[in-house]
Structure formats: structure tokens, C-alpha cells
Amino acid sequence: MKKLTSRIDKERLLLGIAAPLLAIVAALVITALVILATGKNPGPAFSDMMTYGFASDSQVYILNKATTYYLAGVSVAIGFRMNLFNIGVDGQYRLAAFFAAVLGGALTLPGWLSMLLILICAMATGAVWAAIAGVLKVTRGVSEVISTIMLNSIATAIIGYLLQPGKLAHLYQGGTVVATKPLPSASHFFLINAGPAGELDGFIVIAAIVGIAYWFVLGRTRFGYDLRTVGQSESAATASGVSVKKMVVTSMIISGAAAGLIGMPTLLNESYQFSSDFPTGIAFTGIAIALLGRNNPIGIALGALLWGFLERTTNHLEFQGYDKEILGVIQGVIVLCVVIAYEVVRRYGLKRQQQKVGAELAAQAAAPTKKLEVA
């Protein structure tokens, strides 16, 4: 009995790894075909990606990118575990970063205190913005997909309105850049010196803490169990005593608070101010990464690293005479393959398990048992 349990476990693990691997291999094959179709040789392209991607300065770049992407992936994954599609992560993090930057620029407190306040402000802004969608869903039945998309646009408008000279922004660099007041250098987050390769964002530590918290809360706490239950079956959750409505709002708030952190590596480690060219659209990357990582904290980390790697290396391909649009192709194909591969593997796994249970029980029945079948 024990042996069989462990075998099923091992198999499940294998199946879990099989899906993303299958997807990436399929994506590489399709990409190779696309490069071939443009009349170029994919071989050197891939080998250039490998050598360039594993250079030490690339590694630092990739880790820095992945930090942001990881936070985005986790925020989206929190919603996914609840069966909520929080597309609004994008608006949540931009609004959060904006207000955090305004607050940070205005503060003249000791560094650690103002950094703490900046983080709290960012998480609170994200949470409030996400909570709007959650409350709308439970009180008015508005689909969170629709409301968060709209909230994204509203966030863009709000930022556009406030990010003007005379409102909450100023002109910098000889009047060419509109941005919030820069953070005082005391509130800059620490950087890890990686020698000639550059500097690693200290925020990677926070990202790791968020990942551990995500794993711990979901897998090891009562609250996490309730959240997963709602994600798997709302009716069973209700019958088990979980208030689904409360859970929807709560998880939206948590997802939004995590989303608030997405802009922080950029703000606290790189730009130190919110300008009109603050990165946008990271949340959509986060959706792809959450899918790729199967909402698993380690999976999301691998997905984030892969995304960073692809961005870094395909940029470099341009100098080798390849089209840089190849990045979009690879990413798109990976996401598609991932979705397909997961479903295929999931069905295969379920079927296999059912067969196994059947076979096992048949074997039990066939063996002469001392136990009477029916009392």
C-alpha cells in the first residue's frame, strides 16, 4: 500500500514537470521553424542565446527583471487559486507605484521608516483598487474580468491627470521628462554588488519573502485551505462553512496588495521616481508566468526567470541580424503550448489514476481476503 502511494506521488511530480517541459520544447521547435521561414538559420540564434544569456551581466539583468515578474506572477496566481481572473493587476501596480512615488518624494523621514511607509502605501493602494472589483463582484455580480479591465483604464486616466506639472509631478531633465519628485537617496533600497556584472536589486529579497509567504499561507494555514476550497468548488466551500463572498473580497485585496509591490523594484532600486515612461503591462506578463508556473511558488520563479532570459537574449539577437520580434513569437507560443500541455497532461494523469485505482481494487478483490465483503 505504502509503496503504491509513493509511486503515484512520484508519477504526479513527473507529470507536473512534463507539462512545462513539453510546452517549452514545442515552443522551441515552432520558433526554429519560424526563424527558418524567415530564411535564417535557427542554430546560431539558439547558441547565441545560450552564451549571451548565461554571461554574468546577463544573469544580473535577468534576476532583476525576474524579481518584478515574480511579484506579478504571484499576484495573479493568488486570484487564480480562487478561480478569480484579476486582470486588474496592471492598474493596481501602476496606481500603487505612482502614489508610493509621490509619498516617497514628499517624505523626509529616516530611510527605513520612509521605505516602510512607501511599501505600505503601495500595498494599500493596490489592495483598495482591487477591492473595488471584489466588492462589485459580491454585491452586484459584476464579473471581475470586466471590472478590472475598466479599472485599468481608470487607473491610466488618474495617473495621466495627476502626472502633470503643477499637479503631483514636475518637469525634469530640462523639461523633457514629467515625473514625480525623486526619492531622497536615504529611501533607496539596498543594492547587492555583483562586481563587474552590475548590481543586483535588493528587492529580490522581498520577492523571495513574498514567495515563501504565498506558499506558507496557501499550503499550511486554515485560511489558505479555505481559499483553495473556494477555487476548487464554490458549492462545496459554502457547505463546508466558508463564506464565499468574504473570501472573494479578501483574496482580491491580497492579490491587489501583492500587486502593489510589483512596481517597487523599479521605484526603489532603479528609477527612484514615477515618470511617464514607468514600465506598463507587466501584469500581463504576470498572467503568462502564473500560467507557466502552474500557480506554484517555485514554478512561478522559474517562469519569471525564463521570461527574463528570453527578453535579454532576444534583444541581443537583433545585433546578430535576427528580427527581435522573435521574442513575441516565442513567448506567445510558450503560453499557448503551456495551456494545451497542462490540459493534456492533467487529463492523462486523472485517467491514469482512475485506471490504477480500478486495477488496485480489482487485485484486492481477486486476492482471497479474510475480510467479509459486507458485514
Binding site: I8, G219, F223, A236, A239, S240, A362, V374, A375
Partner: protein, 468 residues
């Protein structure tokens, strides 16, 4: 059954239809060959009308408009199914839904009908009506495969009986020359258990008291439908109170009101002296309510989660599942092993998903889970529906055991033999009201059945004197 409907592929063996070898790769193939299936768990979209449900996937046959409606009317009248095409499925009771399912299959031109436990939801009178329908279908040359755990029904309706146990055919029988007992012995491989309780354990200490429960629902037309009307009942320690009734007369809502999943407009619920009317579902569970839901897939299990996570479901705040705010996965796993062993859940391990177990084993797991938290009140809604005979006997034993230990048990069932056999007190529910009560020691299923259709009210006496 799933293989015959093309939902699963056989490893070996052949299927022959009308003298021709058939390969069924999907339900579409099966439908094309005239095989129609009425599932035990209905496959209807609640938010569509009957008409829409029937034409769904078969739009090409008679369109989706007037012609389809006419065809539905025609089939409905021909077999006396009494289906109204424009009603929303969510407003229908379970028996009506089943008729829609049968009609759906006939609409697709099925020549071979598979009925999976079709009578589980019907009262005796309705079962007779269904059997008349089936005989009519048979007379017109259709083939019916009737799958049931109820021996009497199989014997009365079938022309030939095949007994399957654990995936193999154990024998065939002629209904004319077979007694129920012989058939049952073929099914279980041993003596047939009957649901009979021993001497009464009823005390006079009330455990659950319900006073004047009222629940109304306003439908889309703004008309208020009364779902529960002045329901009052008391269950004492050591008492099994059975509620009989055709499904859709408020039993599910009564259970959900007791569980706190629905909020009644008026009335109080008292458990062991404490008013729990205003408490949330979780607090009620913690107060000692064990719940075996009528639809285990929707309310009792996380199908894609492993067994040990299912063991936590509904009791996440209680030991051994958690300590403080943290889950205690290790203790929960150990306790799952215990439940699997002592409730005879047949599974290769506790890491398999709940979906891969058979219905009977899923139900035994649920019973084990609910009995593991020292409940004061056990709500058992259709505890043996869709469960094999062996598991049925085990579940009956557990309910009797619960009663002996002084639990109050609220038993809701469509199986009248089960109700009469297990209950100490019987109440009949009709259109949201408790209209009749009866003594299970003397009442017959037929007499109970007439009260379930609203024909009789008050205290039901066994009609011995005037009948004979």
C-alpha cells in the same frame, strides 16, 4: 455504461449494435448509433429553458424554434412525460428534470436507452408511471438498459437481468423465475442486509428543535414562492427522524437552512439548547452538526483534491486538521488513514483524488469524516443514493451506530424502504410543509407515497381495518 456511451474506451472486448460491430469513440458516435443515456447526475444547464436544453447540441435536427417546440410537445404527449418547454430548468424539481433528460434522449432519436438509477428520485406512483413509459417505449421496439440497485423494480420492469459486481458479470437471471433474495445474493455475494433498527433508543431530551421555519423566494416574475412553510420539528437524542417526500418539496432547502447555507425569513433553530439561527455555517458545524449532503459531488467533496484534503473539508477549524491558524497536514493524513481503514473505504491510498473513487467509497469517506468530529446531530440527505449494496449496508450500520450513541439523526431519503427501516419517527413533506406523520413500524411504502403526493394529510394510520 460509460463505454457504451462512448465516454471511455474499452481495453478489450467488442460492442455489437443491430448485428454490427461498433466502435464508439465519443458520445457523438453513440448518439449517431441511436444510443441515449440518462445520467444519474443530470446533465442540464440550469439557466436555460427546457426547450434550450433539449435542442442544445442537436440544433440541426429540428432547429431551435417552433419546429423543435412542436417535436418536444409531440414526444412529451406520446409518452406522457408532461414536459413544459419554456420553463427554466432551475425552477424544475428533480423528477421533472429526469423527464427532461429522457425527452432529450428521445429527441435525438435514440433507439437504445440507458437509464442510470432512474427511480432514485421518484415516489412509488411516479415509478409506476415511469415503468408504463418504459413499457410503451419497449412496445415500439426500443431497447432499454435499466440500471438500478432496487431489486423489486428490476424484477418488475426487466425482461432479462444481468448482475454486475466489481466490474464483471456474475450472472444473468429471468425475472419470472427469480426471487429478490436470490438476485440480491448474486449482487453482494452474501446475505442481503435490510435497513431495520433494533429496539428504540429514543430519549426525551430534545437535540434539534425547529420552530416555524419559513423561507420564501421571489422568482424572476416577482411572484413569491413559498419554499418552507411553518416547518417545526423536534429530534431527540437517539432518535432518527425520517422525512419522506418527492424531491423538490423543500427537503433540500430545509437541510440548507439547518446548515446555515440559506437564510430563512422566520423561525428558530435550536441545537442542544443553544439558538443557532443566526450562526454561520462553520459555527454550526463546530457546534456539532455532521452533514452528509445529498449531492456529494457538489457539496461534499473536492473531486480533484486528494482524499486527505477532502478529510479536512468542512472541519478545517477542528482537530486533528488544524492547530490554531495552521493546518496540521500530518495529523490530518494520519486520521484519513484511520477513516479509510475503519470505514472500509476501498482505495489504494490517501493521495488519490476523490474523483477516482466509486460513489460508495466516496460516500463512506464522507460518513467517516462527519462521524469523526463527535457530532450531536447528523443530517443524512439521501445517504445511500448511487451507492452499491455493500456500501449501503455499511452506511446503514453507521447511522444505526450513531443513533445508539445518542445522536439525533435527520434522515432524508427517496428510498422509502430505507426511511421506514431506519426511522423512529416519520414526517412527510409536501410543498414546503410537513403535512403528515406516520409510525414506521406499521406504515407501508404505498401509504407513505400517497401522502407524498398530497393526497393524505395528518397522522397516517395503517389502513388495516377498512381494507381487509
Amino acid at each position: 455504461m460509460k463505454i457504451l456511451y462512448g465516454m471511455q474506451q474499452p481495453d478489450e472486448g467488442t460492442i455489437t449494435i443491430d448485428g454490427e460491430r461498433a466502435v464508439l469513440n465519443n458520445p457523438g458516435d453513440a448518439i449517431a448509433l441511436g444510443i441515449g443515456m440518462v445520467h444519474q447526475h443530470f446533465m442540464l444547464a440550469d439557466n436555460l429553458t427546457v426547450l434550450e436544453n433539449v435542442v442544445l447540441g442537436a440544433e440541426k435536427l429540428h432547429g431551435i424554434g417552433g419546429r423543435a417546440r412542436a417535436k418536444i410537445k409531440e414526444i412529451s404527449d406520446a409518452y406522457g412525460l408532461n414536459v413544459r418547454p419554456d420553463v427554466l430548468v432551475e425552477e424544475l424539481g428533480v423528477a421533472d428534470r429526469q423527464r427532461v433528460e429522457i425527452l432529450k434522449v428521445l429527441y435525438r432519436g435514440a433507439r437504445t436507452l440507458i437509464l442510470d438509477e432512474p427511480t432514485a428520485v421518484l415516489v412509488p406512483q411516479e415509478v409506476d408511471a415511469l415503468f408504463d413509459n418504459l413499457r410503451e417505449l419497449k412496445a415500439e421496439g426500443l431497447t432499454v438498459i435499466f440500471i438500478s440497485h432496487k431489486l423489486g423494480e428490476v424484477l418488475s420492469v426487466a425482461d432479462e437481468i444481468t448482475v454486475i459486481r466489481r466490474g464483471t458479470t456474475v450472472g444473468t437471471a429471468e425475472p419470472a423465475s427469480t426471487t429478490p433474495r436470490q438476485l440480491a445474493e448474486m449482487m453482494v455475494g452474501s446475505e442481503l442486509p435490510t435497513p431495520e433498527t433494533e429496539e428504540s433508543t429514543v430519549t426525551d431530551v430534545p437535540m434539534l428543535t425547529i420552530e416555524g421555519l419559513h423561507l420564501g423566494q421571489t422568482d424572476l416574475d416577482g411572484i413569491e414562492r413559498v419554499i418552507l412553510d411553518k416547518v417545526s420539528l423536534t429530534i431527540h437524542k437517539g432518535e432518527v427522524l425520517g422525512i419522506a417526500g418527492v424531491e423538490g418539496n423543500g427537503q433540500s432547502e430545509l437541510v440548507e437552512a439547518i446548515m446555515g447555507m440559506r437564510h430563512p425569513d422566520a423561525g428558530t433553530i435550536t441545537l442542544d439548547g443553544a439558538d443557532i439561527s443566526q450562526r454561520a455555517t462553520r459555527q454550526r458545524r463546530e457546534a456539532g452538526i455532521g452533514y452528509i449532503p445529498e449531492d456529494r459531488h457538489r457539496h461534499g467533496l473536492l473531486l480533484e483534491a486528494p482524499l486527505w484534503e477532502n478529510r479536512i473539508l468542512g472541519h478545517v477549524t477542528e482537530k486533528p486538521n488544524s492547530r490554531g491558524f495552521l493546518l496540521d497536514n500530518k495529523a490530518a493524513r494520519a486520521d484519513t488513514e484511520r477513516i479509510v481503514a475503519s470505514y472500509d473505504v476501498r482505495t489504494p491510498g490517501i493521495d488519490v483524488t476523490a474523483a477516482s473513487l466509486s460513489g460508495g467509497n466516496q460516500q463512506k469517506l464522507i460518513v467517516g469524516r462527519e462521524m469523526s468530529h463527535a457530532p450531536k446531530l447528523l443530517i443524512a440527505a439521501h445517504p445511500t443514493r448511487g451507492v452499491d449494496v455493500g456500501a449501503q449496508a455499511a452506511i446503514w450500520d453507521h447511522i444505526r451506530e450513531a443513533r445508539r450513541e445518542g445522536l439525533a439523526v435527520l434522515l432524508i431519503s427517496a428510498d422509502l424502504d430505507e426511511l421506514i427501516g431506519l426511522s423512529d419517527t416519520l414526517r412527510v413533506m409536501y410543498r414546503g410543509r410537513l403535512v403528515a406523520d406516520a409510525d414506521p413500524a406499521t406504515i407501508t411504502p404505498e401509504e407513505l407515497g400517497s401522502a407524498m403526493t398530497g393526497a393524505a394529510t395528518g397522522h397516517l394510520e395503517h389502513a388495516e381495518d377498512d381494507a381487509r
